[in-house]
């Protein structure tokens, strides 16, 4: 492969060009240029993404304690322990998986429906719409630390706003939102919905605006009422967006950490300690890194199976090709919601 990036060569090109035919082949030959462009990214990518994925597998096959000199190979023991009732890690891990499951099951439907309703109300051109959109999106730009500390205050059982206003409405005003279940689940789910609904609403809104107006006009002429229009025009038109939102919301909920760490601290007991929380504590506080790595691989497997299930549920029955092309595109902004819970 010839070098194409050096300055002298470009001079030759312009000389040649004066002589006659443009050297298209030469212009398109790339040599090592692409690899020079890719190099900085690939260094980071290999060192902190691809490498760690393999290294994590290696760690999970050892009794790996950061603080101890010996890290003996134990084969699949860390994994079999996770599936052996009575082992040290079994109950802690599955309780945290249960916590993640409960949180996901209750937060995802709300995060799919509430933002859709907001987006439908805002799917008209009216003065001030962008301001409303900005308001509903605003909490999302804040970090989980700010959001959780704020709500820890509002949910305080003695001096919190939530209990105070519930009392004014004649409802119980002494709920221990952060230290008892099921109240803690309501708190964690509620805070998360408040925090992240703007993200889903903005995506829904963009999806709604892509549905051609003519479809509604045609439906109206056929005598369809508002519900029928929603059912037969809006929902089908929104399908790709719906599958994207469902996917990202499930993954984000399954990665919930900060709310539980700061609002409930896993309380009562470790009942609201999520899987990520458990993995971080096992590996980075108790330094049982082999166990923690095994847990993260089991959790990852669950997440992958869940993603496949969502793909399958939303698969396009009429035109299977489109779905295939859409998949990676739709996964792209996962990064934006990772860990946002």
């Amino acid at each position: 492969m010839a070098s194409t990036v050096t300055a002298p060569r470009s001079e030759t090109v312009s000389d040649d060009r004066r002589g006659g035919a443009p050297r298209r082949r030469d212009i398109n030959s790339v040599g090592i240029a692409p690899w020079l462009f890719l190099a900085p990214y690939l260094v980071l990518f290999l060192a902190f993404v691809v490498g760690p994925i393999v290294y994590g597998l290696y760690i999970s096959l050892h009794r790996y304690d950061f603080t101890l000199p010996n890290k003996p190979f134990v084969g699949l023991e860390n994994y079999t322990d996770l599936f052996t009732p009575g082992s040290i890690t079994f109950s802690a891990f599955w309780q945290s998986m249960r916590a993640t499951g409960i949180f996901t099951v209750f937060s995802v439907p709300l995060l799919l429906v509430v933002p859709l309703m907001i987006a439908l109300v805002m799917n008209r051109k009216f003065p001030g719409r962008n301001l409303f959109r900005a308001v509903f999106f605003a909490p999302y730009v804040l970090g989980v630390a700010v959001v959780a500390i704020l709500w820890r205050y509002l949910l305080d059982s003695n001096i919190g706003l939530v209990n105070y206003y519930l009392g004014l409405l004649g409802l119980p005003d002494n709920t221990a939102w952060t230290t008892s279940t099921p109240a803690a689940w309501f708190a964690l789910v509620g805070v998360t919905v408040w925090w992240t609904l703007g993200f889903n609403a903005v995506i829904y809104l963009a999806g709604l605006q892509d549905i051609p107006r003519e479809l509604y006009e045609a439906a109206e002429m056929d005598g369809a009422n508002r519900w029928q229009q929603f059912r037969h025009v809006t929902l089908p038109g929104l399908k790709p967006v719906l599958s994207f939102v469902t996917m990202t919301t499930i993954i984000a909920s399954a990665n919930m950490f900060g709310q539980s760490y700061l609002i409930t601290k896993g309380a009562p007991g470790t009942e609201t300690r999520t899987a990520i929380y458990q993995i971080a504590e096992t590996g980075l506080r108790n330094y049982q890194m082999g166990s923690a790595a095994a847990m993260s691989y089991v959790l990852t497997l669950f997440l992958i199976l869940l993603s496949l299930l969502v793909f399958w549920l939303f698969r396009d029955r009429e035109t299977p090709k489109r779905q295939k092309a859409g998949a990676p595109v739709q996964a792209a902004p996962l990064m934006l919601r990772q860990g946002k819970g």
Binding site: N28, L38, L44, I59, V146, I149, I159, V202, L284, G339
Partner: protein, 305 residues
């Protein structure tokens, strides 16, 4: 509609009429008018309720200690006090909020720079050059979009430890900088740029890097700004990683620091709200100033990439 001239003009005026009517309140049927007002009232009430926790956060940060812990809650600080800010921002404490603020800003700015630089450089050949291994590289990058980051926590902690980066800002800036999303996002953008300009520059003797630097990057400013914003926000708000890799009080970022502030002052909500306000100011300012980039970036990502 476009077949003959005169009817088409009439057609057009007929179709634009209702739209115009909807805009001017006088010519509008009462039913529509009422519905419009209902929508405004409902949306305004919802928006105010929705944003009220943030307002209360700001209000509380200007309250005295006693005021912040008293019921009924007041929506205006009386007396107005900046003691909470003075305390959390004051030097010589275990919770140097100002230092954390600086740490967070430096880390997020360098992280965003690193993300945009590496992603733009990587995205360009993936969009514009043909070479062996291209499909494998791009496939591998896209595949990692599906890998949940939890899998990286333990090994990256050990790698960062072996590099002696634990308890330093480098641990916050570098390991998360290989943004698969960034490469994907910028590649899509580069693919949409007109090829002619690049070809013209090549014929004028520009090398690959000059084309990238002088033609492609200036055309891509909106995409680069969007990615920079998103990377800044993500890094500035990141919580789990800094909590576990930073130990010393003076090395914390704001989110991790707020967590220690909370453990140290569990019921000093005036202090906690002041800390939370300090942490919110940069992102809210960024949001107000660059709302278009952030919201457009998010909404576009859901559809076209």
């Amino acid at each position: 509609m476009s077949a003959s001239t005169t009817p088409s003009l009439e057609d057009r005026s007929a179709t634009t009429e209702p739209v115009r009517a909807e805009r001017t309140p006088t010519g509008e049927p009462t039913g529509l008018k009422v519905r419009r007002w209902v929508r405004y009232v409902v949306l305004t009430v919802l928006a105010v309720l929705f944003i009220s926790p943030l307002i209360f956060m700001v209000v509380t940060s200007f309250k005295t200690r006693a005021d912040s812990a008293s019921l009924p809650p007041s929506w205006w600080p009386s007396p107005f006090s900046t003691d909470a800010f003075a305390t959390v921002l004051g030097a010589g404490t275990d919770t140097p909020v100002l230092r954390w603020f600086a740490n967070s800003m430096i880390a997020a700015a360098l992280h965003a720079t690193l993300v945009v630089t590496t992603a733009a450089l990587a995205a360009y050949p993936l969009a514009r050059m043909e070479f062996r291994g291209k499909k494998i590289v791009f496939g591998a990058i896209v595949a990692t979009l599906f890998v949940p980051p939890v899998i990286l926590i333990i090994p990256n902690y050990l790698i960062v430890g072996q590099l002696f980066w634990l308890d330093t800002l480098i641990a916050i800036i570098v390991p998360t900088a290989a943004s698969a999303f960034g490469v994907f996002f910028l590649r899509q953008f580069f693919l949409g740029l007109p090829l002619e300009l690049e070809e013209a520059a090549r014929l004028d003797g520009a090398n690959r890097f000059q084309v990238f630097w002088k033609v492609v990057l200036p055309l891509s400013r909106p995409a680069l700004v969007t990615l920079a914003m998103l990377a800044f926000l993500t890094n500035y708000n990141d919580f789990l990683w800094p909590v576990y890799v930073l130990f010393s009080p003076e090395n914390q970022t704001l989110p991790a620091g707020l967590s220690t502030l909370q453990s140290a002052n569990a019921v000093r909500y005036d202090l906690l709200m002041a800390g939370a306000v300090v942490a919110s100011v940069p992102v809210l300012a960024l949001y107000v100033g660059a709302q278009r980039f952030i919201i457009e970036g998010v909404s576009r990502s859901g559809l076209k990439g």
